[in-house]
Symmetry: C2
Subunit: 358 residues, 2 copies
């Protein structure tokens, strides 16, 4: 790894997320170049000092594709064509991972999705601290070089993101519930209210904190969504159908004066909401878990995804390579309180885990 | 009106809203008594200094019923029985107004609904500033004495609430869209996510800002909802059905790759959300509008509701009584920029409005 001051990154697509990535990396000492298909955006980014230039350097370590989901695969192919066989890490920020992963066939690409956003749109809304405390999903595959994953994980941790690993299909299925369906519902609630407000102006004065909270995301840039929604069609339509069924069941309960049933539904939701984990911060001391791994494809993905499934945060990940006849070792920095849970789960997958007594 | 230091109020039901009303009134110099059906709550409120005692004084000017919607009418009857024919103003805070108005037959009762809440529950969550900037709906009727309305409006303005007048039926129809349906949807989104998280623990780590915003209200106390939902059955079930239809239409658009249609829906919502009015603060100079009114029932309600329909905030309202042969006058403090709009609408209803040149 080059020293911090020499690290070079290149960002393709300088909107809200791409611009924020550029700002955040620059704040951490990277030399950042960038490009945008819109000349005015490109110029604005340079004038704001957000990127130093347009050209990807041959020694770029990190390339971030921050275009809408539908054009990520083509953009990855394009950047990889210009850097040849350089040991670069390429990642993206799109809200859908399966279709992109299927379309890219280069192990230097590791899909990513920072779960951060803003009602601000475009470059003007870009902020260096947008990713602080956010969950940043990476989707390593069996082909992902552990070293590349470890580097990318570390760089994103520097931005104070909480990095978790999921396989692309799981990511897509889960974000349908956690993000895509809620986003559509926010829009539907807002459109319904706007329609009624046409004849009843007082409605908007009744739009209190709860309504404002529930519709806030709908103010964001709509342009990213058609790609995401159509590429995640199966999971999103299933999620919407499932929500419709829940709503229909509530209608029935209300129509039948089923007060106990309503109370039960709302109490269950209240308990679940209060238990929703907050932002991941090392609340306690960290320790290193030592995981000797055979030198075969897929172990990095399996180890990191096992942690994600348990909700165990990996604060740092390092890879010590195998020497002949010996396994390599993955070191995971996690909270001491989580050691037993993760060690057990990894043991169940056949790994021989130990606390690292440095 | 007695001097501020002698004003007495009584609050029935010392939960989140009742406790906050007691705190807010006390902060503005009222002597506040209060009662709660639960002895421990009653005691806690006294120990916290939130109310000075249990007994409603004969000279109480304001009684606030802050019990669940289903028991408001009985509580109103009970307090009125103890104060005889005293010129008290009685109001409530329930989220539904039609059924309560139908059940109370005393002009001293003016239905109310502060559109404020909190994820905190009960007395522990009570805060003196809960109503700062909130919309507080009052539902005057033709029988409401303008004086009583003017006093209540002024007291609530002291708490920094934005007071608007709606008829009870309109209130109920509009809060179904602005509050009841969104609340149910927040619960449904949370329950759906919790269900999926049982098998996919990583889901909760993907619950980013948008999801947290959209489910926040579901953490509130569920106990107030069965009354509200069943008493507002027609509007709530209609609102839920309407939302289901919107969701079904989105499913069809996604299934058909109708990107333009999706973009259109989301863009409409984004524009509406960005235009949602913020908190009402006198952004400009206020002026007084002078509205001579015939001395007949219903004019107060009509004048105040006309302002609400236009989204015009009334910052202060004063009533000068008619002398023989002359009409009375209602003085409305509104923003100068709103004068023409409101004057026009009132003229259309036959009022002869003028700017008050004091």
């Amino acid at each position: 790894m080059t020293s911090p001051s020499n690290r070079r990154a290149h960002v393709v697509g300088l909107g809200l997320i791409g611009g924020s990535v550029a700002l955040a990396l620059a704040e951490h000492g990277w030399i950042v170049t960038g490009e945008d298909a819109v000349a005015a955006t490109q110029l604005a980014a340079q004038q704001r000092g957000l990127v130093t230039g347009v050209d990807r350097a041959r020694d770029t370590e990190l390339i971030v594709i921050a275009t809408p989901a539908g054009s990520v695969a083509a953009a990855v192919a394009s950047v990889l064509a210009t850097v040849g066989d350089a040991p670069v890490v390429v990642t993206d920020v799109a809200g859908i991972k399966g279709a992109i992963g299927d379309a890219v066939h280069d192990a230097r690409f590791i899909g990513g999705h920072p779960m951060a956003g803003s009602e601000q749109r475009g470059l003007e809304g870009a902020r260096a601290d947008l990713f602080r405390g956010c969950t940043w999903v990476l989707t390593p595959t069996a082909a992902t070089p552990p070293d590349a994953y470890g580097r990318l994980h570390g760089w994103l941790r520097e931005l104070d993101a909480n990095v978790i690993a999921l396989d692309a299909a799981t990511h897509d299925r889960l974000v349908a519930t956690a993000s895509h369906v809620p986003h559509l519902v926010a829009g539907a609630l807002m459109n319904e209210a706007a329609l009624i407000a046409e004849s009843d102006g007082a409605l908007l004065q009744l739009a209190a904190g709860g309504f404002r909270d529930m519709t806030r995301v709908s103010a964001g840039d709509p342009a990213i969504w058609p790609d995401v929604l159509t590429q995640n069609k199966v999971a999103v339509t299933a999620g919407l159908r499932s929500l419709r069924e829940r709503i229909a069941a509530l209608e029935t309960r209300i129509a039948n004066d089923d007060r106990a049933g309503l109370m039960d539904e709302l109490r269950t939701a209240a308990i679940a909401r209060r238990e929703l984990p907050g932002r991941a911060v090392p609340s306690a001391e960290l320790t290193h878990l030592r995981v000797p791994v055979p030198d075969r494809p897929g172990v990095l993905a399996q180890v990191t995804m096992t942690a994600s499934e348990l909700g165990v945060n990996i604060y740092d990940i390092e890879i010590a390579h195998s020497v002949e006849g010996q396994p390599g070792v993955i070191f995971l920095a996690i909270e001491i309180a989580e050691v037993d849970r993760l060690a057990q789960a990894l043991s169940a997958h056949g790994y021989r885990v130990s606390r690292d007594e440095e």
